[in-house]
Amino acid sequence: MIATIAQKKPSRLKTVLEHASGDKRFKILEVHMKKHQFRQDALIEVLHKAQELFGYLEDDLLLFVSYKLKLPPSRVYGVATFYHFFTLKPKGEHTCVVCMGTACYVKGAEKVINAVQENLKIKPGETTADNKVSLLIARCIGACGIAPAVVYDGTVTPRTTPESAVEQIKKWVAK
């Protein structure tokens, strides 16, 4: 026990900063943090930007943010895992977000999800093995007037049917 404490592990931070120095996106992120004057309450804003730049929040990225904002890594990790919007796993090339708000649910969004699930052989929140498509569920995107709504790569599509969803997925997979 004593031996493990005495034996100092190589600093993780050093490798993180080395990693960061070779990547331009970290620079952009730092500029963004500077815009917020490295304020600790801007953490969520910074994580938004980080996810926008990198697509997902990897460990090194979270450590980098915690170092720059002078926050304990536990706090940054805690916030990143609390909010559904942040993802710690890389997403696929394409994303299919099925809205599961009440209006969409009542109008049959579950059937759409089941159809896509069956077609891709993955569960919501997962990515296909070839990294092509991620299937996600949204809690409500506020497009209730045109339910059921599905967001393909950021484009909202109204009145989706299981058939039209599978068709779109097949187009992606075929490419």
Partner: protein, 549 residues
């Protein structure tokens, strides 16, 4: 900026108006159906027809009838084109000179529009949300000027109390009382927060207001800030609403450029800044203490109250938190007077309420009606009833915190108290209509799954209780439960309701309780006979045996 400048801009804007206006809906309801392409093609068609001097094509906010989008309205002809495609544009422009356009039309005099009373949505579908001049032409920011120069903060609060406005976020706390408490709280620094974290699935009123009339919310916040003595505001908006975020950013920038936000507004000593905070997908952040934690960049977990935010809120300072719709009500109240507002609605619920009508109903979209309007008028006359000859079974209000109101109670007037009596709540305004094909047990399970996923995990009744309740509902829905499970479910509902820390847990059992109250037979029909007897003591089971046959 002084008052004369304001009038000047208004008059310039009005003078620049052309004889004919084609208003194109550019809100999130119509955008997915290529509303942008429609607008571009209309501009092109107008230019090709050589009508630029007479016809203005204006992008506006939500025109309410979302199910028929994209919508284009021609004024002054008062024609409402529905399901417009980009190819229809030349036909619409040609029809302006007389003749008939080859596009489907909706009747602007139908009950859906005629029964509405627009206060919050008065500018929605009329002004261009991306141009502040358009809002100024509709008498925008005049209420703020009047408040800053002609009244004291105390009088502003008094007028708000007199108007009888109650919070539109769901709980219905009197707005004037809240303003008064924050105003009286000692402290040099105070904050105003606009809660635009519209988490209820099936509700999209706040999104529409922000997309259609962002300046009304900013003006309302500025008036509130003057009343309570705050100089910094935050709008906490969901990340799921990218269009609302971009419109707000534009609105804040324009208002700052014109000196309507920032330092020394209207050459008075009053300063007010507004910053945006983008949520990250957590339903619990609609709860005020959780929202403040999130604005501070922390995990969005609620904390016990008191102290209430009015005394110790954001960064420990007195904080005023109101909903989007509440703030949007503020400028009309000061423009038209508190008495005018108090004259609308019922005795205890004043003014109007915006509802998002969706689900199994013909006309889905936004409606704004005076408080006290019977549900039947909303659902049957305005909504047009269930589509495809279906029968309305229930109306769900209040999202995962509300309940299902069965068809036999459709004559209930919509106000805070009446809905509360039926075990539902007004909520933020989501109204989902269900027809006879909807399984109520599955609806209860759907909402419970939502609450289970969204529970922040801070207090045990909610964290563990929602999981257990979902498990029991799942068991019932899969025909594996007995009468004892149902009794356990009811017991758990009561426990979670009474012992949870915040509103999420306290209201999570509501959808289950209200469906149990009105549709108990659906639950009982799924129960299995209990082989150990109702008390689990080996007594032969008697009652729910009938269910299996």
């Amino acid at each position: 900026m002084i008052f004369n400048d304001l009038i000047q801009i208004k008059e310039t804007e009005l003078a620049a108006r052309k004889k004919i206006t084609l208003r194109c809906c550019m809100a999130a309801g119509c955008m997915p159906s290529d509303a942008k392409g429609v607008k571009e093609q209309l501009v092109k068609a107008v230019a090709e027809a050589g009508l630029q001097d007479q016809v203005e094509v204006r992008g506006v906010g939500c025109m309410k009838l979302c199910c028929e989008g994209p919508l284009v309205q021609a004024d002054p002809q008062n024609l409402l084109y529905i399901k417009v495609t980009a190819e229809n544009a030349p036909s619409i422009v040609a029809a302006l000179k007389g003749g008939q356009a080859n596009v489907a039309q909706a009747d602007p005099n139908a009950a859906f529009f005629k029964k509405q009373l627009s206060i919050v949505l008065a500018n929605s579908g009329v002004v261009d949300p991306e141009r502040i001049e358009s809002y100024l032409a509709a008498d925008g920011y005049q209420a703020l000027h009047e408040v800053l120069h002609e009244t004291t903060p105390k009088d502003v609060v008094v007028a708000m109390v007199k108007s009888g406005l109650r919070g539109r976020g769901g709980a219905g706390f009197p707005t004037g009382l809240k303003w008064g408490t924050v105003a009286k709280s000692p402290g040099a620094k105070k904050y105003v927060i606009c809660n635009a974290d519209e988490g209820d699935p099936g509700a999209f009123m706040d999104r529409s207001v922000l997309e259609s009339d962002p300046h009304a919310v900013l003006e309302g916040m500025a008036i509130a800030a003057y009343a309570v003595g705050a100089d910094q505001g935050f709008i906490y908006v969901r990340a799921e609403y990218p269009l609302a975020i971009s419109r707000l950013q534009i609105a804040i920038k324009q208002a700052k450029q014109m000196g309507l936000l920032g330092a020394g507004i209207f050459e008075s000593p009053f300063n007010f800044n507004v910053d945006l905070r983008i949520g990250a997908g957590a339903f619990v952040c609609g709860e005020e203490t959780a929202l403040m934690a999130s604005v501070e960049g922390k995990r969005g977990t609620p904390r016990p109250r008191p102290p209430f935010p009015a005394e110790s809120g954001l960064f420990g300072c007195p904080t005023l938190i109101n909903n989007v719709e509440t703030f949007a009500n503020v400028p009309p109240i000061y423009r038209n007077g508190a008495e005018w507002f108090a004259g609308i609605g019922t005795e205890k619920s004043k003014g109007t309420k915006v509802f998002a009508l969706a689900g199994k109903i013909k006309n889905t979209g936004l409606i704004e009606v005076p408080m006290g309007t019977p549900l039947r008028v909303i659902v049957e006359e305005m909504g047009g009833g269930a589509p495809d000859g279906g029968k309305i079974k229930a109306v769900q209000t209040g999202g995962p915190s509300g309940g299902c109101i069965p068809a036999q109670h459709l004559d209930t007037p919509v106000d805070y108290e009446s809905l509360g009596k039926l075990g539902s709540i007004m909520g933020s305004g989501g109204m989902i209509v269900m027809d006879q094909t909807t399984n109520m047990v599955e609806i209860a399970r759907f909402f419970m799954e939502f609450c289970m996923d969204e529970s922040c995990g801070k207090c045990i009744p909610c964290r563990a209780g929602t999981v257990q309740m979902h498990h029991l509902l799942d068991k019932i829905a899969n025909r594996k439960a007995t009468a004892r499970d149902l009794a356990k479910l009811e017991e758990l509902c009561d426990m979670v309701k009474n012992t949870s820390l915040c509103g999420l847990g306290q209201t999570a059992p509501n959808p289950t309780l209200s469906t149990l109250r009105f549709f108990r037979n659906e639950y009982e029909a799924l129960l299995q006979p209990d082989q150990f007897g109702p008390r689990g003591n080996g007594e032969a089971a008697k009652q729910p045996a009938a269910a299996k046959q």
